[in-house]
C-alpha cells in the first residue's frame, strides 16, 4: 500500500470536512543548522505535495535572508497527506521560528500542535537553543518524537547522541529515529511515527468558533495572511470574524490551507490548520496569539495566552547619508506591516543626524531588521550600540523608563533596575573554566551545572541582558573554539549599580556615544571611546579635548592637538588649477562635516567609532548562527 493516499482516500481528508481523528498537527524543533528545512523539503516530496521538478532547496524559507542564512524567521504551516495501513491522514507541519528572540511566536506555534519532532544533528548533539524550545514543547504537553538527522555524515555519532537525547526526554535510546534529510533515509518511518504517536486534536465542533492565530504575514498582493489553528467550531468563507483582543470585525475574503501553495477551501473545522485573508494591510490588526471567532455567533472566552510583544533591546538606526531619512522611514513603515514586534520612533542625534530609536525582541531580531532594511531598501545604515531598557527611580519617587542611554537621568537616583535573563550554555566540558570566567566578567551568577554526557555540560547562569547584547556571543564562541551554544530567556529585573558615561567633545556631549554601564566598567568604556575618537577626529585650528564623564566627573581625557600647518608651500603658474581644484574639493568636504560646538567632524568619524571593535553597533555575520 502506498503511503500517498489514493483519490478515494483523499476525499476523506478534505480540509473543510476532515474528521479530527485523521488530523496530526506537529512541529519540528531543531537548532539552526541541524537540517530542519532539508527534512521538511524531503517530507514535502515524499508526501507528493511538491513535485520533484518544483523542488528548490529549503522550499519553506521564503525570504532571501532566510534562505541565505539558513534560518527560519517566520513560521508557516503545510498540509501533507499520508496514509498508514490504508487510513489516510492529514499532517499539518507547523514551522517554528528557530530563535530565542521569537520565543513568544515559538510558544504560539507549539500551542497549535499536539506533537513535536525533536531534530538533532547526529554529529553535533543537542544545542542550548533546542533545549529551550524542547522545554517549551514539554510544558505544552506535546508528544515528543526524538530524531537524529544527518546520519549520512561520516562524523555522525548516532549511538552517543541517541543516549544523550533519551536521557533528556526519557525512553529508550533504541526508540530514537535515525534519518537523513539529505538522502531521505528513515523519513517515511518518521512520517509513520508521527501518525502513530502524535495525538489527534480534540475540540467541540458544535461550540462557537475559536481559532488561535499562530502567525501573521504581510503579502504585497494579498495583504495580511493570517495562519490559524481551529480549536472549536469552524470558520467558513464569507463569514464575518472577530479578533477577540481588539473586538475588530473583518470579512473573511478567503480561507484555505497551504500545501505549500495556498489552496482555498470551503472552510476549516476542529483541529484544522490553515490561513485566513481579510484584506487588512497591517499585521498589527491580526496579532499572533489572538483568538478569532465568528461575529454572528461569538465565543464567550478567548483561548488565552495572548500577550503583546515587548521590545528588549533598543538601538538607534541612522542613514549614513542623511538624505536617506525619508527612505528609512518608509522602509520601517513597510517592515512593520510584517513584523508586529517592530516598534520605533523618530530620534535626532547631534552626531548622526535624523534617525529612529528602534525596539527589538533581541539581537537577532535587530540584525534581521537591519539587514532587511539594507538589502530590500538599499539603505546604508549605522546603528548605535544596542542597549536595554532601564527603570530608574529618582529620589522623589518618580519612575523613568530609559530606552536611550543619553536620556538616562543625572543626579538624584534612588534605584536602577535592569533586565536580567536566565541563560543556558551547552559546551564540551573542557571549556567550563573559560566560560565561567566570561560569565563572571559579565556579572553572571551561576545557577547550576549538569553533565549531559561525560564530555558535554549544561551551565545555567543569570546574566544582565545588557551584558549579552554586545559581543557576548562572539566572545563565547572564540573562547570555546566555536563549540558552545547559548540561549537565554528574560526572567525579570534586578537592582544594579549603573552609571551613564557621557562623551564630550570640547565640552559638548555627543549623544550617540553615551552608554549606561556598570560602575566598575565606566573607566574602561570612557578610555576606549575617548581614545577611539581621538584617532578619528581630524586636527582643528584649536585644541579639542575629548572627555568621558560620569555626571560632572571626568574619568578619561584625550586631546586632539591643534593643527599647525595647512598650506601648500608652492603655488606658481602650473600649480594653480590643481590647487584650486583641491580647495574646491575641501570646500565640498567641509559642507558635509558635522559640527559639534565649533568642532568639525567628518561624518564617517562617528560611524567608524560606532562600527569598529568595541564600539558596538555594526553587525557581525556569524552572530546569527546561534
Amino acid at each position: 500500500m502506498s503511503p500517498i493516499p489514493t483519490a478515494d482516500q483523499t476525499a476523506r481528508i478534505k480540509p473543510a470536512s476532515t474528521p479530527a481523528e485523521l488530523l496530526r498537527n506537529f512541529c519540528i524543533i531543531a537548532h539552526i543548522d541541524h537540517g530542519k528545512s532539508t527534512l521538511a523539503d524531503r517530507m514535502l516530496q515524499l508526501t507528493g505535495v511538491v513535485e520533484q521538478r518544483a523542488m528548490r532547496a529549503q522550499y519553506l524559507d521564503r525570504m532571501d535572508i532566510e534562505r541565505e542564512r539558513g534560518i527560519t524567521i517566520k513560521s508557516q504551516a503545510v498540509r501533507m497527506p499520508w496514509a498508514v495501513d490504508g487510513t489516510p491522514h492529514a499532517l499539518n507541519m507547523i514551522d517554528t521560528p528557530g530563535h530565542v528572540d521569537f520565543t513568544y511566536e515559538v510558544s504560539r506555534s507549539l500551542a497549535a500542535c499536539e506533537g513535536a519532532v525533536l531534530l538533532v544533528d547526529a554529529a553535533q548533539g543537542i544545542e542550548a537553543q533546542t533545549l529551550a524550545n524542547l522545554y517549551l514543547a514539554m510544558e505544552n504537553d506535546l508528544a515528543i518524537i526524538p530524531v537524529l538527522n544527518k546520519i549520512d555524515l561520516p562524523a555522525a555519532q548516532p549511538e552517543k547522541y541517541a543516549e544523550e537525547i533519551a536521557g533528556l526526554v526519557g525512553g529508550d535510546p533504541e526508540d530514537v529515529l535515525k534519518v537523513s534529510g539529505k538522502t531521505g533515509e528513515g523519513v517515511e518511518a518518521l512520517l509513520d511515527r508521527i501518525v502513530q504517536t502524535v495525538p489527534a486534536p480534540v475540540g467541540d465542533a458544535d461550540a462557537p468558533a475559536r481559532a488561535m492565530i499562530f502567525d501573521s504575514v504581510y503579502d504585497t498582493y494579498r495583504g495580511v495572511v493570517t495562519y490559524v489553528r481551529v480549536v472549536d467550531g469552524s470558520l467558513n468563507p464569507r463569514e464575518k470574524i472577530v479578533m477577540m483582543s481588539t473586538r475588530a470585525t473583518h470579512e473573511l475574503l478567503e480561507i484555505g490551507v497551504s500545501s505549500p501553495e495556498p489552496h482555498p477551501t470551503k472552510g476549516l473545522g476542529v483541529g484544522e490548520v490553515g490561513y485566513l485573508i481579510t484584506g487588512v494591510k497591517d499585521v498589527r490588526q491580526s496579532k499572533v496569539g489572538d483568538t478569532v471567532t465568528n461575529a454572528a455567533k461569538p465565543a464567550a472566552d478567548s483561548l488565552g495566552g495572548y500577550s503583546d510583544p515587548r521590545p528588549m533591546v533598543f538601538s538607534g538606526l541612522y542613514p549614513i547619508d542623511g538624505s536617506d531619512y525619508p527612505v528609512l522611514r518608509d522602509a520601517l513603515d513597510k517592515l512593520k506591516l510584517n513584523d508586529a514586534a517592530l516598534n520605533y520612533e523618530p530620534e535626532t542625534s547631534v552626531a548622526l543626524g535624523f534617525g529612529f530609536r528602534v525596539g527589538f525582541l533581541g539581537l537577532l531580531h535587530l540584525e534581521i531588521v537591519r539587514e532587511r532594511l539594507e538589502r530590500e531598501f538599499d539603505l546604508a545604515l549605522i546603528s548605535t550600540a544596542p542597549n536595554v531598557v532601564y527603570t530608574v527611580t529618582l529620589e522623589d519617587g518618580t519612575e523613568v523608563t530609559v530606552t536611550n542611554p543619553s536620556e538616562f537621568p543625572g543626579g538624584k537616583i534612588k534605584d536602577v533596575q535592569e533586565p536580567v535573563v536566565r541563560s543556558t550554555v551547552l559546551a564540551p566540558s573542557e571549556f567550563i573554566g573559560s566560560i565561567m570566567e566570561l560569565c563572571q566578567q559579565r556579572r553572571g551568577d551561576l545557577l547550576g551545572m549538569d553533565y549531559l554526557s561525560p564530555d558535554r555540560v549544561e551551565m545555567r547562569y543569570t546574566l544582565p541582558l545588557a551584558e549579552i547584547v554586545f559581543d557576548f556571543f562572539d566572545q563565547l564562541k572564540s573562547r570555546t573554539r566555536g563549540y558552545a551554544s547559548f540561549d537565554y530567556e528574560p526572567t525579570g529585573e534586578q537592582t544594579a549599580d549603573l552609571v551613564k558615561v557621557d562623551i564630550l567633545l570640547q565640552g559638548e556631549q555627543v549623544d550617540a556615544f553615551s552608554a549606561v554601564v556598570h560602575k566598575d566598567q565606566a573607566y574602561a568604556y570612557g578610555t576606549m571611546m575617548a581614545g577611539k575618537l581621538k584617532d578619528l577626529i581630524p586636527r582643528q585650528q584649536f585644541e579639542v579635548p575629548i572627555q568621558a564623564a560620569v555626571g560632572a566627573r571626568v574619568i578619561a581625557r584625550e586631546t586632539v592637538r591643534a593643527i599647525r600647518k595647512d598650506v601648500l608651500a608652492k603655488c606658481y603658474g602650473g600649480d594653480i588649477s590643481r590647487k584650486r581644484k583641491l580647495l574646491e574639493k575641501q570646500k565640498e568636504g567641509k559642507k558635509r562635516m558635522k559640527t559639534i560646538g565649533r568642532v568639525e567632524v567628518p561624518p564617517n568619524a562617528f560611524i567608524a567609532a560606532l562600527s569598529s571593535d568595541g564600539g558596538g553597533g555594526k553587525e557581525s555575520k556569524d552572530k546569527s548562527k546561534k
Binding site: 595647512d566 608651500a569 602650473g574 594653480i576 588649477s577 584650486r580 580647495l583
Partner: protein
C-alpha cells in the same frame, strides 16, 4: 611645472583663443620659458624634466631653443588674432629642469626672441633658475650681457646629509662662490631652500639658513618638502627607507625660518618668499599671485590670460554673456618630443585648457591673493565671507589692524594655515 596636467577641455589645434578675451587690458604680461633638462633627476623631484638618457642621447637639447622660438611666434599670433594688443613684456622667468644645462648663449637667444616679438619693458625683470654646479663666472656674465637681471640658485640645503637624501649633487661649499660671481656680473641673486627633508634636524635647518644669510643675498625662497606620488622618494617612504617629517616639524621649521630671516632684515612678501626690500621681491612670481597675464613656453608649461579690463569678478561693469569666461588657462603637451612635434607640424602645442567660471576665478583670486603680504582687498569678498573675516581675526589667523584697513593679511599662524583661511573666505 607640476607633473600631472590638470583635466580640462581639449585645446584647439591652431591655438586659437576665445575672442571674448579681446579688448583693453591693463594687467602686466609675463613670459615663462621652461627648460626640461637636468643632468640627473633628484629623488624628490616631480617636475617635468628629463635627463639626457631619458630623452635618448640629448639631441633634442641642442635644438630646444630653436623649438621654443616657434611657440613664441605662435603665442604672439594667436593673441593678436583674439584682439589682445601687444604689450611689452614686464617679466621673464626661465625655469626647469635646469635652465643652465643649456649653453648661456641659448638662453640669451630665447630672451632675444621674446624681446623681438613683444618688446621688453625698460625695467623688465629677467630671471633664470640655475644649479650651483652648472654656472661659471663666464656663463653668468654672458647671461647678464644678454639681458638677464636676476638668478635664482637651487641651493636647497647647506647640510651634506640632507643634500644626499635629496640626491642633490652640487658641492655646498660652492654656493658662496656662485653667489659672488653672479653679483659681480651685476645679477640680483635669490637662493632656494627646502625644509623638512627626512633626517633634517632643526639645527640642520638653522645651519642652512645661517649659510644663506652669510652670502648676503636679498631674496630667499623656502619650501616645505612635498613628497609627490610617483617620485623615487615616495617609493622610499613607502618601503620604509625614509621617514617623512611630520607637518608639525615642518611648521616649526617654517617658524624658525621666518624668525631667522626677519631678524636678518628679510621680510616675507609671500608665504614662501622673503626679500630685503619690496624692490627685491620677484616680480614675475608676484604676477602669478596678482592674476596678471602670462604665457608659458615649453613642454608642460601653463599659460593664463585674464578677462579684459571691463570684467570684474564680483562687480562686473558690463554684463558677461554666458559664453564668456573670466579668463582662460591652457597647458602644453608634457613630453618634449610631442611638444616639439606639434610645433614642427605648425600646430599649437597646447594639450588642454579651461575657461574659468566666475566662482573659479574668484576662488583663485582669493587663494593667490591671500598668500601675499599685501593681502586681499576685502571689498572683493561677498557679505558672508566678510563676516568670517571677523572670526579669522579672532582665531589669530588674519591681522586685525589690516582687516580694519580693508585687507585680509595673514598672521604668522595664518600663513601656516592659509588653506583653511581660504576655505573660510570663499564659503
Amino acid at each position: 611645472m607640476s607633473p600631472a596636467l590638470p583635466e580640462g577641455e581639449p585645446a584647439p589645434e591652431d591655438g586659437a583663443l576665445p575672442t571674448w578675451l579681446g579688448g583693453p587690458r591693463s594687467s602686466a604680461f609675463g613670459v615663462y620659458l621652461h627648460v626640461p633638462f637636468c643632468s640627473v633627476r633628484c629623488g624628490y623631484c616631480d617636475f617635468n624634466t628629463y635627463t639626457a638618457s631619458e630623452l635618448g642621447g640629448g639631441a633634442d637639447q641642442a635644438a630646444y631653443a630653436t623649438t621654443s622660438l616657434r611657440e613664441i611666434d605662435l603665442a604672439a599670433r594667436v593673441m593678436r588674432d583674439a584682439g589682445i594688443s601687444d604689450r611689452p613684456v614686464s617679466t621673464v622667468f626661465v625655469g626647469g629642469g635646469t635652465p643652465t644645462m643649456l649653453p648661456a648663449q641659448d638662453l640669451v637667444r630665447m630672451l632675444a626672441a621674446v624681446r623681438d616679438t613683444w618688446g621688453l619693458a625698460d625695467d623688465a625683470e629677467v630671471t633664470t633658475e640655475a644649479n650651483p654646479d652648472s654656472v661659471t663666472p663666464e656663463s653668468l656674465a654672458t647671461l647678464a650681457r644678454g639681458g638677464f637681471t636676476r638668478v635664482s640658485f637651487g641651493m636647497q640645503s647647506a647640510v651634506p646629509h640632507v643634500l644626499a637624501t635629496l640626491e642633490r649633487t652640487h658641492d655646498p661649499a660652492r654656493v658662496p662662490d656662485v653667489v659672488r660671481w653672479a653679483r659681480e656680473a651685476g645679477l640680483a641673486v635669490s637662493l632656494d631652500l627646502i625644509y623638512g627633508t627626512p633626517g633634517e634636524s632643526v639645527d640642520d635647518w638653522r645651519t642652512s639658513l645661517d649659510t644663506v644669510l652669510e652670502t648676503g643675498v636679498d631674496h630667499v625662497s623656502a619650501y616645505a618638502l612635498v613628497v609627490e606620488p610617483g617620485t623615487k622618494m615616495a617609493a622610499q617612504v613607502r618601503r620604509g627607507q625614509l621617514e617623512l617629517p611630520s607637518a608639525d616639524d615642518q611648521a616649526e621649521k617654517y617658524e624658525v625660518a621666518d624668525e631667522v630671516l626677519t631678524s636678518a632684515g628679510l621680510g616675507w612678501y609671500e608665504v614662501s618668499n622673503w626679500a630685503r626690500t619690496p624692490a627685491d621681491a620677484c616680480r614675475h612670481n608676484l604676477a602669478y599671485w596678482r592674476g596678471d597675464d602670462w604665457w608659458g613656453v615649453g613642454p608642460g608649461a601653463h599659460s593664463y590670460l585674464g578677462p579684459a579690463d571691463a570684467v570684474e569678478v564680483h562687480a562686473p561693469t558690463r554684463a558677461v554673456p554666458p559664453e564668456e569666461g573670466h579668463g582662460v588657462r591652457f597647458w602644453n603637451a608634457k613630453h618634449p618630443r610631442r611638444y616639439a612635434a606639434s610645433l614642427e607640424a605648425g600646430h599649437s602645442p597646447a594639450a588642454g585648457r579651461e575657461v574659468l567660471t566666475t566662482d573659479e576665478a574668484h576662488l583663485e583670486r582669493v587663494m593667490l591673493g591671500v598668500r601675499l603680504r599685501e593681502g586681499l582687498d576685502l571689498a572683493l569678498l561677498g557679505r558672508g565671507s566678510r563676516e568670517s573675516v571677523a572670526q579669522l581675526v579672532a582665531s589669530g589667523l588674519l591681522d586685525g589692524r589690516r582687516a580694519v584697513q580693508g585687507r585680509a593679511v595673514l598672521t604668522l599662524r595664518g600663513r601656516l594655515l592659509a588653506d583653511a583661511v581660504v576655505r573660510g573666505l570663499v564659503e
